[in-house]
């Protein structure tokens, strides 16, 4: 009995590991975003952006931390458009195209306001069409 128990446990552990393999840790860059502030002070934003902020909070916190979206380095309109559409198409995101557009309009506005320096730097560096 004493001899078989560790073997049984080892087999059980191996079987569990196969069923649920350990995932790699979150990318350190993303983990850093997750540790930042999780809200945006929108009190001085126009009322329509404050409304859009609510959609942003409700939808973007469903699958990941809101801090990730708040602190990431996306700033340009085209970056945000691609990213929001990418999220919108994920099964289970439950982001309609109207809501996706609202979120996009909010983050695009927010980037030009709160992340103005980053936005301007990226705009300057972006290849001209």
């Amino acid at each position: 009995m004493k001899k078989t128990l560790p073997i049984t446990l080892a087999i059980a552990a191996a079987a569990l590991a196969h069923l649920a393999p350990a995932q790699e840790p979150v990318d350190p860059r993303i983990a850093a975003y997750d540790k930042g502030p999780a809200t945006i002070d929108v009190s001085k934003y126009p009322p329509d952006m404050q409304t859009r902020y609510k959609t942003f909070v409700a939808k973007c916190s469903k699958c990941h931390t809101l801090a990730r979206a708040v602190n990431c380095d996306f700033a340009l309109d085209e970056e945000w458009e691609r990213y929001v559409k990418r999220m919108m198409r994920k099964p289970g995101s439950e982001i309609s195209s109207t809501q996706g557009k609202e979120i996009f309009e909010f983050v695009a506005y927010d980037s030009k306001t709160r992340k103005k320096a980053l936005y301007e730097r990226k705009l300057k560096e972006a290849p001209k069409p």
Binding site: A20, D27, E81, R89, P91, G92, S97
Partner: protein, 147 residues
């Protein structure tokens, strides 16, 4: 003399092996050697060859079960990658894979399937063709202008 005999035996053996080996039917040889001219068509073959269809579906619609994945317990489709990725971003994604799949319920086991990274396993040409194919899947009727 001994060496010569050995070499002779080896040659006979190789020839016999070649004769005994069943040749590929002509139709298979023709298909295998035909290289589509279009990058999209070549990319479709890459998609099949690398087994992408096993999880993302033969038509890229996804939906295969991946229990406890945050994506509603399903493998996402690839029909809309053209609106969500630049060519460079998509190349990077294919090379890096998706090592971590978000969980719907952190108390339950992690989703069993993850996308492997193809870095070091796929040629640059195949990667380019695959990207072309994936970008071509986007249904033009789904295009939305937000700006």
């Amino acid at each position: 003399m001994k060496r010569l005999a050995m070499a002779g035996l080896l040659a006979v053996g190789l020839a016999a092996g070649a004769l005994m080996r069943p040749g590929l039917p002509a139709v298979v040889r023709a298909v295998a050697s035909a290289r589509p001219e279009s990058a999209v068509e070549r990319g479709r073959l890459v998609y099949e060859r690398y087994g992408c269809a096993l999880c993302h579906g033969p038509e890229g619609k996804g939906g295969f079960a991946n229990p406890n994945a945050e994506t509603a317990g399903k493998v996402p489709g690839v029909l809309y990658v053209a609106e969500g990725y630049t060519v460079q971003e998509l190349r990077r994604k294919l090379l890096d894979g998706v090592p971590t799949i978000g969980t719907a319920d952190s108390k339950r086991p992690a989703p069993p399937y993850r996308m492997p990274g193809w870095s070091g396993h796929i040629s640059d040409e195949d990667l380019g063709d695959l990207v072309e194919y994936l970008m071509s899947l986007f249904p033009q009727t789904a295009e939305e202008k937000w700006r």
